[in-house]
Symmetry: C2
DNA sequence: TTGATGTATACTGAATATGGTATACACTGA
DNA sequence: TCAGTGTATACCATATTCAGTATACATCAA
């Protein structure tokens, strides 16, 4: 992990003793963390593309502006479920294919 | 929603007043529920392909066999986060592409 | 500077998810 | 039938996530 990423994660509320701790994360944890961060970034990008404020999105999600702020930095107390809902609420799509079976979390209006 | 799917969901612990209630779900909720169910199915299929018992997987996830049973039916009190960890623990992979930006939740050894 | 708008941080009580345990059920082979 | 293995259901105590609120900070226009 580069310093930049670690700094961003710590800003988001994640705690690391040092880089070795991160390297010691299980593969599952790393994949989950990556997916969370990607989805959070996507939420912000899509929201801004729609010219919605955090307050606007909060209304759609039936939550508060402060929670949207947390969602967009993938804070530790934001579940993947909530990230997912926010993501789809701003136009993110999920495609489930069968052969080969896979799930794609697609961003509309990709960069 | 067909009766079969609804039956499966109810068996998993989800509650529906009637089909209209389900149709009344927001798009986000439907996408999330679908993704959860797909991931749960994937966990079971991959686990069995690896010849692991629920107890074996529970050890890897540092949880209990009963919880794995819940994970595999995408019970309402199982978070997407936990589903995700289980999924990756049995070989599921996440690929994040940049152009176009999308996330794929890929099943290894797909059917 | 002031007010308006958008975003971030901190705190709380309530709701939900989690691990752990006990136990029931299903299937198989001896 | 019985023992062994794998899976499902039920319950509880604890931990985590949540909405709601207050408030701080940032930017911009008048």
């Amino acid at each position: 992990m580069d310093a930049k990423k670690r700094k961003a994660l710590e800003a988001a509320g994640w705690k690391f003793g040092d880089a070795a701790d991160f390297l010691g994360m299980s593969d599952e944890e790393k994949q989950l963390l990556d997916a969370r961060v990607e989805m959070a970034i996507a939420v912000r990008r899509l929201r801004e593309a729609m010219n919605l404020s955090q307050t606007d999105l909060a209304l759609r999600l039936k939550t508060s502006q402060p929670r949207v702020a947390k969602i967009e930095r993938a804070a530790p107390d934001v579940s993947f479920d909530q990230l997912f809902r926010a993501y789809t609420a701003v136009g993110g799509r999920v495609v489930v294919e069968s052969k080969p079976r896979r799930m794609k979390f697609e961003l509309q209006g990709a960069s």
